[in-house]
C-alpha cells in the first residue's frame, strides 16, 4: 500500500475557470474613503456607514490572530481590492436582465438560475464577487412571509430588522476578521422567517469569487422567529489562480423560542495547487445565538476547499432547553491546512450540545480540530457530547485536536470521545480484494467514516458532498 498512498492530487479543480465580465473594481487598499465608497454604492443609511467606520477604527487597533495552527505568509491588507461588481444591471428584476456570462457561470457550476431548472424546493441567492446577482423564488417565499434576499437589499427594504440584528451575534469588534468584515462587507444573504412559519423550501446561497486580487467579505444574517424552521445551505467555489485570495465572511444566526435553524455548508473554494501555490484563505466567523427557549441551531459543514481554513461555527445557548449541534467533515489534501472546530457556550438551563468532527488528512494536508465547550455557572444540567475522529491517508499529513472544556456548574454532564486512525491497510486490501480500485476503496472508506455527518445534510446535498469528497481525494492514492 505504500505505493498506493503516495501519489498526490493531480486531479484538477473542476471549478477553476474565470468568467469574463466587465467589472467595476475598487483600487487596492483599505481606508475610510474605500468604506465610504462601498457604503454609497449600496445607498446605505448613515447609521450603517457609522457602524462600518467604527468597525474600521477597531480593526486598525487589532492584531491578526496567530494562535491557530496555520502557517501562511503575512497578508498585505493594502494589496487587496475590497469591492468588485459586474458592471451590468446591479439588481435585475428578472433573469433576462442578468449578464449572460454570469448566468452561464452558474450553469457551469451546476446552479442554473432558472427556477424551473432548479432542484425542486431550493431557492438560491447567487453572490458573484461583491454583489448578489440574483435570488430565485422570492415571490413564492414572500407568500409565506419569508424574506430571502441579499443583505444590501435588506438594508434598503427591511432596515429595522437589519438594524436590530446586525452585529447582535458577532459584534463589529469581535475579532480581527469580523471587524474587517464589518468595515467592508459587500454582500451576502438575509433571511427572516416569521413566527410559526416552516420555510417551504431549502434556502441556499452560492458564493462565487471571480475577480482577481479582491477579497470577498460577505455577511449573512438569518433570523428565525418564534416556532419557525429554516434550512439553509451555502456553497462556494473560486477560479484557479496562482495568488491566494482572502475570504473573510461573517454569518450570524438568531433563533427565537422554539425555532430551528439548520445551516449547512459545502465549502469548495480553490485549494491551491500541489506545491501550495494559490488557493483561498478562508477566515470566517460564524455564530448562532439560541436566544429563545427550546430553540435549536445546527451547523453542518463539509470543508474540502481553501488553502487555509480558520473557522469555528459556534452556538451560544442562552434559552433554557436550547440545543446546539456541530457536525463537521474537514478534508485537507495537497498542502491545505484547516484549523476548524466549534464553540458551544452553555448559558441557559438544560441546554445540550453535540459535536461530531471528522478530520481527514491526505497528501501533505494538516487538519486541526479546535473546540471549546463552556458551561456557565447558571447552566444547570447542561449536557455535551463530543466526538472527534481523525483519519490519516499516507505518511506526510497530520492531524491534531485541541479540545478545551470549561465547566462552572457541577451538574453538567460531559462526554468526550476521540480517535485517530490511519486509513486501514487491511480495510483497503479487503475492498480491493473484492474488486474495487484503490481510489474507490479510499473514497468508500472515507465516506463511511463521514457517514454520521453526511446524514445531517439535506438529501441532495449529501449526495453532492459524497461526490465532492471523492473528487477531493482523487490522486491521494495511485
Amino acid at each position: 500500500m505504500s505505493v498506493d498512498l503516495e501519489k498526490l492530487a493531480q486531479e484538477e479543480y473542476k471549478y477553476g475557470f474565470v468568467t469574463d465580465v466587465e467589472q467595476e473594481i475598487a483600487p487596492k487598499g483599505l481606508n475610510e474613503d474605500v468604506i465610504r465608497m462601498i457604503s454609497s454604492k449600496k445607498n446605505e443609511p448613515e447609521w450603517l456607514l457609522e457602524w462600518r467606520l467604527d468597525a474600521y477604527e477597531r480593526w486598525k487597533k487589532m492584531k491578526e490572530p496567530r494562535w491557530a495552527f496555520l502557517r501562511y505568509p503575512k497578508i498585505d491588507f493594502n494589496d487587496i481590492s475590497y469591492y468588485a461588481a459586474p458592471k451590468s444591471n446591479p439588481r435585475p428584476k428578472s433573469l433576462d436582465e442578468i449578464d449572460p456570462e454570469i448566468k452561464e457561470t452558474y450553469d457551469k457550476l451546476g446552479i442554473p438560475l432558472e427556477e424551473q431548472k432548479m432542484l425542486a424546493g431550493v431557492a438560491v441567492d447567487a453572490v458573484f464577487d461583491s454583489v448578489s446577482v440574483f435570488t430565485t423564488f422570492k415571490e413564492k417565499l414572500a407568500e409565506e412571509g419569508v424574506i430571502f434576499c441579499s443583505i444590501s437589499e435588506a438594508v434598503e427594504e427591511h432596515p429595522d430588522l437589519v438594524r436590530k440584528y446586525l452585529g447582535s451575534v458577532v459584534p463589529r469588534g469581535d475579532n480581527f476578521y469580523a471587524a474587517l468584515n464589518s468595515a467592508v462587507f459587500t454582500d451576502g444573504s438575509f433571511v427572516y422567517v416569521p413566527k410559526g412559519v416552516r420555510c417551504p423550501m431549502e434556502l441556499s446561497t452560492y458564493f462565487r469569487i471571480n475577480a482577481e486580487n479582491t477579497g470577498q467579505f460577505e455577511r449573512t444574517l438569518i433570523i428565525a422567529d418564534e416556532g419557525s424552521y429554516v434550512s439553509y445551505l451555502e456553497g462556494c467555489t473560486a477560479p484557479q489562480r496562482d495568488e491566494s485570495q482572502l475570504h473573510a465572511a461573517v454569518v450570524e444566526l438568531v433563533a427565537h423560542n422554539d425555532a430551528t435553524i439548520k445551516y449547512s455548508t459545502i465549502q469548495n473554494w480553490y485549494p491551491g495547487d500541489k506545491q501550495g501555490k494559490g488557493g483561498i484563505y478562508n477566515f470566517v466567523t460564524k455564530r448562532g445565538r439560541c436566544v429563545g427557549r427550546s430553540s435549536r441551531i445546527s451547523w453542518t459543514q463539509v470543508e474540502t476547499g481553501s488553502a487555509i481554513t480558520w473557522k469555528y461555527p459556534s452556538c451560544v445557548l442562552e434559552g433554557d432547553n436550547s440545543v446546539g449541534e456541530f457536525y463537521s467533515v474537514a478534508l485537507t489534501n495537497r498542502r491545505q491546512q484547516a484549523d476548524t472546530g466549534t464553540k458551544m457556550i452553555h448559558v441557559g438551563k438544560n441546554t445540550s450540545s453535540t459535536i461530531i468532527s471528522k478530520g481527514i488528512s491526505a497528501g501533505e494536508g494538516q487538519n486541526i480540530y479546535r473546540g471549546l465547550v463552556e458551561i456557565g455557572k447558571n447552566a444547570e444540567k447542561a449536557r455535551n457530547y463530543t466526538q472527534c475522529d481523525s483519519m490519516l491517508i499516507g505518511d506526510c499529513c497530520g492531524a491534531h485536536t485541541f479540545p478545551y472544556i470549561e465547566v462552572r456548574n457541577s451538574t453538567a454532564h460531559m462526554e468526550h470521545e476521540a480517535s485517530t486512525s490511519k486509513i486501514g491497510e487491511d480495510q483497503m486490501f479487503y475492498c480491493r480484494q473484492r474488486g474495487l480500485s484503490a481510489e474507490d476503496a479510499v473514497s468508500l472508506i472515507v465516506n463511511g467514516f463521514c457517514k454520521e455527518v453526511f446524514k445531517e445534510l439535506p438529501f441532495e446535498f449529501a449526495v453532492e458532498a459524497e461526490k465532492l469528497l471523492s473528487v477531493s481525494l482523487e490522486g491521494s492514492v495511485g
Binding site: 486490501f429 479487503y430 480491493r432 473484492r434 474488486g435 474495487l436 474507490d440 472508506i445 465516506n447
Partner: protein
C-alpha cells in the same frame, strides 16, 4: 488453473513461505491443513495480492497469467476470491453497498453493464435466504459488530454473489457451531462446478466431512510436506501434526 512453483515469501526479512508448490485444476477442491503459524494465511494473502508480503522467489500463474504481476483488484476481477480469516470492519459503509460496488467493478472489468439497485437486491435476497442471513445484516456496516459466525457467513455470502473462479477459504470454519458449519459448507457445495476451484484452508478435519476435498496437503513451516487424498485428513486427525 492455478500453479504455484517454488514460492518463497518474506516479511521484515523473515522467510515465511519456503518453497511452496501447489497445482490446482479446474473443478478441484484442495484442502491445506497445518499447524498454527505454518504460513497458510500467508499463502492465501499472497495469492490475493497483499503487498506486505514480499515474494523473493518462485512464480504463480493463474489461468495462464502471471498472477504476481496483477494488482489485488485485478486478481479479484480475474476471478480470485479470498474469504478472510479475520474479515475487517468498515464503519459507516453498508454491507450491501460494498458488495454492489464490488460486483459492478467486476462486471465493468468484463465489459458488462452494472446491475441496477433492484436487480442487485433481488440477487442478494435469494443468496441470503439460503445462507440464513438476516436482511438486517445487509444494511449494517461491513462486519461492524458482527458476531464471529456472522462474519464468516458474510464472507460466503460475498463469494456467492461474486462467483469467483478460484475461491480461497481461510479457516472459514473456525469458531462456527455445527449448524453454522453446515450452512457454510452448503454454501460452498452449491457452487461447485467443473470450472470453479476451491482451496480450503483449515485447522480441523471436521469441515472436510462436509466439504469433501479431492486433495489434502499438509503444510509445515512454509512448505507442503505431504499431499494425498481425503484419507490424509483422517490420518492427521489421529496422529496430529507431530509426525510431519
Amino acid at each position: 488453473m492455478l500453479e504455484v512453483k517454488n514460492l518463497h515469501v518474506q516479511v521484515d526479512d523473515k522467510e515465511i513461505l519456503k518453497g511452496m508448490n501447489i497445482t490446482v485444476a479446474p473443478g478441484e477442491v484442495h484442502s491445506i491443513m497445518g499447524p498454527n503459524g505454518s504460513g497458510k494465511s500467508t499463502l492465501a494473502q499472497v495469492l490475493a495480492g497483499k503487498e506486505t508480503y514480499e515474494v523473493t522467489e518462485g512464480e504463480v500463474t493463474f489461468q495462464g497469467k502471471d498472477l504476481l504481476d496483477l494488482e489485488p483488484e485485478e486478481r479479484a476481477c480475474e476471478g480470485i476470491f479470498l474469504a478472510f480469516q479475520y474479515p475487517v470492519e468498515i464503519p459507516g459503509v453498508a454491507n450491501t453497498y460494498l458488495l454492489r460496488e464490488a460486483l459492478n467493478a467486476k462486471r465493468e472489468y468484463r465489459d458488462e453493464k452494472p446491475l441496477k439497485h433492484i436487480e442487485f437486491a433481488k440477487l442478494a435476497r435469494e443468496k441470503m435466504k439460503a445462507l440464513g442471513i438476516d436482511e438486517d445484516l445487509l444494511k449494517r456496516s461491513v462486519n461492524a459488530g458482527f458476531s464471529g459466525g456472522e462474519k464468516k457467513r458474510n464472507e460466503i455470502f460475498q463469494m456467492q454473489i461474486l462467483e469467483p473462479t478460484l475461491a480461497v477459504l481461510d479457516e472459514t470454519d473456525s469458531g462456527l457451531d455445527i449448524d453454522a458449519l453446515k450452512i457454510v459448507a452448503n454454501g460452498v457445495n452449491s457452487m461447485k462446478d467443473s470450472g470453479r476451484s476451491f482451496i480450503v484452508i483449515t485447522h480441523y478435519q471436521r469441515l472436510l466431512n462436509y466439504i469433501v476435498p479431492d486433495f489434502v496437503h499438509v503444510m509445515v513451516d512454509g512448505k507442503i510436506v505431504r499431499s494425498g487424498g481425503k484419507e490424509l485428513a483422517y490420518e492427521l486427525e489421529e496422529k496430529g501434526y507431530a509426525g510431519f
